[in-house]
């Protein structure tokens, strides 16, 4: 399993001055892998400064593990080189696809939950873990559509990928809530369907209610229903590193750090609850 890192936040460009010059820190930082591949200048300087005294995790958005395109070997080499340089606590990406014919949609598109998809993803996770020289974490994505061909639930699919490929899971609590609302499934059933020993990290974020659906926007504080689901997740999975994502309309660093402190407080209160 991976170490418990506490309650972190995503490292974003807007906060670079406060992080680099004022030395402000969370328990740990997650960085978007692609923003740091083959770069120098301020991003690299901030990453090195943060890594000098805090754990860092590499979180990718372009692995496209579920795509039928061949794996991008150059990309994997670059990720491996960055991981070797930064020595992150772990490397994660999403259980989704985004490329077709080498054309990158830069989106986290949902998989059809079929045996064919499962076999495809499992074989690619094994290849990626081999290339990167480490186990990876895969994250559940928010989704706005489901495929007629899907034969099993999302949580069964995710669990089976983790079991067969022997990888770990990054459980995005906000994504569970968003997808549960959009597709009408029970978020509690989702959590109960995920094996306890596979979950190595939580994501927390805000979303927008557009009336017809929830959109995973990462542009607002974590809303109460997601905090409630987070408490359920802590009850089931125990003490797991959490990470607050805030990617748009980014507020001052203190506000994001306050969300991480809220996660710490909720975790503490749940873990102190008397066993039922």
């Amino acid at each position: 399993m991976v170490p418990f890192l506490g309650h972190g936040i995503g490292l974003r460009t807007k906060h670079f001055p406060e992080v680099l010059e004022a030395g402000r820190r969370a328990d740990w930082f997650e960085v978007i892998t692609e923003n740091f591949l083959n770069v120098g200048g301020r991003p690299r300087a901030v990453l090195e400064a943060v890594r000098a005294d805090r754990p860092v995790v590499l979180h990718g958005v372009s692995l496209s593990i579920g795509s039928v395109d061949p794996l991008n070997e150059e990309y994997l080499r670059d990720v491996r080189a960055l991981a070797d340089a930064v020595e992150p606590a772990w490397v994660s990406d999403h259980l989704c696809w985004g490329t077709f014919g080498r054309h990158n949609a830069h989106d986290l598109l949902p998989m059809p939950f079929t045996e064919e998809s499962l076999a495809h993803v499992v074989s690619r996770v094994a290849e990626v873990q081999e290339r990167l020289g480490r186990r990876i974490l895969l994250e559940n994505v928010s989704s706005y559509l489901t495929f007629a061909v899907s034969a099993i639930s999302e949580w069964d699919f995710l669990s089976e990928v983790a079991r067969r490929a022997d990888c770990l899971l990054l459980l995005d609590v906000n994504n569970v809530y968003v997808s549960a609302t959009n597709h009408g499934f029970d978020a509690g059933e989702y959590l109960r369907g995920i094996p306890v020993n596979r979950v190595a990290q939580f994501h927390l974020a805000g979303h927008q209610d557009l009336g017809t659906h929830l959109l995973d926007t990462h542009d607002a504080p974590v809303p109460d229903p997601v905090w409630s689901l987070y408490r359920d997740a802590v009850r089931r999975f125990g003490r797991v590193s959490s990470l607050v994502e805030w990617d748009d309309h980014i507020p001052p660093l203190d506000e994001v750090l306050a969300q991480a402190e809220r996660a710490r407080a909720f975790e503490k209160s749940v873990l102190e609850e008397a066993p039922a």
């Binding site: 692609e34 923003n35 591949l37 083959n38 770069v39 120098g40 200048g41 301020r42 991003p43 690299r44 300087a45 372009s62 496209s64 795509s67 039928v68 991008n72 990309y75 696809w97 490329t99 077709f100 014919g101 080498r102 054309h103 990158n104 949609a105 830069h106 989106d107 598109l109 059809p112 079929t114 064919e116 998809s117 495809h120 706005y144 559509l145 489901t146 495929f147 007629a148 061909v149 959009n182 597709h183 009408g184 017809t212 659906h213 959109l215």
Partner: protein, 258 residues
């Protein structure tokens, strides 16, 4: 429909590369009130366009401001048809936008050059680090090695050959002021980084020629030859080469060909 066919169908619709196929999409994507199958796919199509519009705008904020919101979105939509993203890094999607703008009608004549300058500044900001060499690197060579000395430049150095001098335009937009009229005429602009700060400056024709020769593995002797028509060739060459070191453009000097 197998996994490959399904991904091709959805990807084509979302990115606009293969429009239509409505009946197949209705068959493959489940409706769920209040949204039907195509409306669910459309959520992704809208996000695709606006995510990439944001990515290009991050590179060229002043160009985007001049085009206006609708004009910029329309321009990026057309650009993406010819230059779909091939990189895992969304930050690379706008790398051809300035050059592509040259073929666009009905825009300010200097807008492609402004976009190229903005993109270069964006690239330089995050280009790979390399320690800059001082002029002593040149002085350390034996006298007989000087004519054949060659320069290795820092990876953050960019040389732009523009059709307009857009420096005053960039300054005005940076200060949130009024855009001056276009200033036509070939201009060479160099963009570079010192520590974490990005700079750009214009070069005279002689300076530009010297720098291009040096970038293409020309020797110090070749560089000096580009100043042959100057009133004081040796002095001009010496001054120019020293400025490369002073501005931190040179990473190393070698007596070997690249």
């Amino acid at each position: 429909m197998n996994l490959s066919e399904l991904q091709g169908l959805l990807h084509g619709r979302i990115t606009g590369s293969v429009p239509g196929r409505d009946d197949e999409l209705r068959e493959q994507v489940l409706p769920r009130p209040p949204l039907d199958s195509l409306e669910r796919v459309e959520i992704y199509a809208r996000m695709y366009l606006f995510r990439l519009v944001d990515a290009v705008a991050e590179d060229v904020p002043h160009t985007a401001r001049i085009l206006g919101h609708d004009g910029f979105v329309e321009a990026v939509r057309d650009y993406l048809r010819e230059h779909p993203s091939r990189s895992p890094d969304i930050g690379q999607v706008g790398q051809h936008f300035g050059a592509w703008l040259r073929s666009r009608e009905g825009i300010r004549s200097d807008l492609p050059d402004l976009a190229m300058l903005e993109r270069a500044r964006s690239e330089v900001r995050t280009a790979a680090d390399a320690p800059a060499a001082g002029a002593e690197a040149l002085q350390s060579l034996p006298p007989e090695g000087l004519p054949g000395a060659r320069f290795l430049f820092c990876p953050s150095l960019r040389i732009l050959r523009l059709q307009h001098d857009v420096r005053a335009l960039w300054d005005a937009l940076e200060a949130e002021g009024e855009a001056p009229p276009p200033a036509p005429g070939p201009t060479t602009v160099v963009v570079w980084r010192q520590e974490l700060k990005v700079f750009h400056t214009g070069l005279s024709e002689a300076e530009a020629a010297a720098l291009m020769v040096a970038r293409e593995d020309g020797s110090l002797e070749d560089v000096c030859a580009t100043f042959a028509h100057e009133p004081e060739p040796a002095r001009a060459a010496f001054k120019t080469v020293l400025s490369w070191f002073a501005d931190g453009w040179v990473a190393a000097v070698t007596s070997q060909r690249a």
